[in-house]
């Protein structure tokens, strides 16, 4: 459980404004979705939240302490991030990769304990990766790689999950299974999530609050119901959007 407060955050990249004076609190069990056009700065914003990108102004407090004041390892025990891509040039198997998720935690330096291996086995099983455990990372398909990265994040067991395009490369079955899994963790461990995605329907299905980045530092922030309107989405994405209801879920498609 962790308290995460973003106060008056201004983020820029290459002198382009991503958000200006953004404030919100991420409380346990919150799931916030970040939406916006390609290149609007969703990933950079997530990088800022884990101190991989420096904010122009404002502060980010984790349990009443600025995130810059945390040593990397202590921060990694509280905040975990799923990146859009990771390097696979250097050889490693799926099992070796997901055990790296335990790196921030205090562990035996010389060998991976049986508890950790058992934990890894169960994570592999939930993501249907058991069969691939000894496969080289660079021989996996995009979706399998994505699940391996997610598995490493689940091993990390942070209180705050930052997910950059979690549904990337995943087929519809896994999109739902993976996010259901994360929702379970959120419920059980009082965790919280900020996820950036280009998939409006996925965000609308899982997130209770939405940050809609409009470009030039403007944004809308609020509950799903208040932010996800066709007007707002048309403004953010610059195209006509239709809203409909399929099987009791609100869905948005380009007109």
């Amino acid at each position: 459980m962790a308290m995460f407060c973003i106060n008056d955050l201004t983020v820029t990249i290459n002198s382009e404004l991503i958000c200006k004076k953004l404030s919100f609190n991420l409380e346990p069990k919150n799931i916030i979705g970040v939406l916006g056009r390609n290149g609007v700065g969703k990933s950079t914003l997530l990088h800022t939240l884990i101190n991989l990108h420096e904010a122009q102004a404002g502060n980010i407090m984790l349990d009443n302490k600025p995130i810059q004041d945390y040593p990397r390892r202590a921060l990694a025990r509280k905040i975990g991030m799923l990146f859009q891509e990771s390097t696979t040039e250097m050889p490693a198997t799926v099992m070796e990769t997901i055990l790296l998720g335990r790196h921030p935690h205090r562990l035996n330096y010389w060998h991976d304990s049986t508890t950790e291996i058992a934990k890894a086995e169960s994570v592999l099983a939930t993501l249907d990766l058991s069969r691939l455990r000894n496969r080289q990372l660079n021989t996996l398909s995009g979706g399998e790689k994505q699940r391996a990265s997610l598995a490493a994040l689940l091993m990390q067991e942070p209180s705050i999950y930052l997910l950059d395009e979690p549904s990337n490369h995943l087929d519809i079955d896994f999109q739902v299974r993976v996010l259901d899994q994360i929702c379970d963790i959120v419920a059980i461990h009082q965790a919280s999530v900020v996820m950036a995605s280009h998939d409006i329907n996925l965000v609308s299905r899982y997130c209770d609050q939405i940050l809609l980045l409009l470009g030039n530092g403007e944004y809308l922030f609020g509950s799903s119901a208040s932010v996800l309107t066709t007007d707002n989405l048309e403004r953010a994405f610059g195209c006509k959007v239709h809203e409909g209801i399929i099987g009791q879920r609100k869905c948005y498609i380009p007109a």
Binding site: M81, F83, M90, A92, H103
Partner: protein, 327 residues
């Protein structure tokens, strides 16, 4: 890697090193038996066997082992630092700087005593040069470091070629020997084992971070690695290991590139295993290569660097073939 497989790996590597050391001590212009070696190793009777062994073979064997170990460990670290499996210890120009300085002493006709110190200073100069240029401005990135190193290295290459083409014939051969890597001129002191021990210690201490860093800097930072400090330290360590190796034996090729890959293909991808294993295999390979280099067309000697490639290429290709078949 499971503990059982790891012990098999280390068992075989140790055996390989012992065989290489045994051959290196027994084979040569005077062939010695195992019992002669054993008797003469600590004998102070001034016999010919004792002299050959104590003054020639032991120092040369130890120099070869240290150099090989240094290069292989430097290769492992450099490959992680640059996230590039094709990186070798010389890719960032350390050997080029050393070569220009070493060849410079030969060009000036200074005595052989000056070659090693000059090589070390040249290497340090190149390390600092690349670091300062790549690190200037805030955008320190792997590709920037790699580009800077490769370009500086190419610059050194040009200077080396000028030296070679404008030099009178008689010193060209010693220059070429130095460039290809040669252990016959190395003067071993106790100090040479220091970088090996330091490199092993620091490498083992950073092994877990190396594992994480292999997945990329962003991922490593998110998993708790202080990336900036770590990569600066890795650059310095890998460069100093290389500089030490080059100072002992010139630029011996191939060991630093291929030994890490051989071990990875054999399953030692975890740096907690890979660092010590590469020390053993690198050391053993170079001891063996040097033994071949000084005996195969005796009394003439070949540069050890040539032999490392001749032994290493087929051995590597066989392992590559087998590993692609099993996976």
């Amino acid at each position: 890697m499971q503990p059982r497989r790891a012990s098999i790996l280390f068992g075989s590597l140790t055996l390989f090193c012992l065989i290489a050391l045994f051959l290196s001590l027994t084979v040569g212009s005077v062939d010695l038996s195992a019992s002669q070696v054993w008797r003469s190793l600590f004998a102070s009777d001034g016999s010919m066997e004792a002299q050959v062994l104590q003054e020639l073979r032991v120092p040369r064997t130890v120099a070869a082992f240290i150099t090989g170990g240094l290069l292989a460990m430097a290769g492992v670290i450099m490959q992680v630092l640059l996230r590039n499996p094709l990186a070798d210890p010389y890719i960032l120009g350390v050997s080029g700087g050393a070569a220009v300085a070493a060849l410079g002493t030969m060009l000036l006709g200074l005595s052989g005593y000056w070659v090693s110190p000059a090589a070390f200073l040249g290497a340090i100069f190149s390390i600092v040069l690349v670091f300062v240029i790549a690190g200037s401005g805030r955008a320190w990135s792997v590709s920037r470091l790699l580009l800077t190193g490769v370009v500086v290295s190419a610059g050194w290459g040009a200077v080396i070629n000028i030296m070679l083409t404008t030099t009178a014939n008689n010193s060209v051969q010693s220059m070429l020997f130095w460039l290809m890597g040669d252990l016959s001129q190395s003067r071993l002191t106790m100090w040479h084992s220091l970088p090996l021990i330091l490199g092993l210690g620091i490498g083992m201490w950073m092994a877990r971070s190396l594992n994480v860093l292999s997945r990329g800097e962003m991922v490593a930072a998110a998993l708790g690695v202080e990336v900036r400090t770590t990569r600066n330290l890795l650059y310095i360590i890998a460069s100093l290991l290389t500089a030490s190796a080059v100072t002992i034996a010139g630029s011996i090729g191939f060991v630093g590139l291929i030994v890490p890959h051989m071990l990875r293909l054999l399953g030692a991808r975890d740096h907690r295993l890979l660092i010590p294993a590469s020390l053993l295999l690198g050391g053993g390979v170079l001891v063996l290569a040097d033994t071949v280099a000084r005996t195969i067309i005796a009394p003439q000697q070949l540069p050890a660097g040539v032999i490392t490639a001749i032994i290493g290429v087929p051995a590597f290709l066989v392992i590559l073939r087998n590993s692609s078949r099993t996976s």
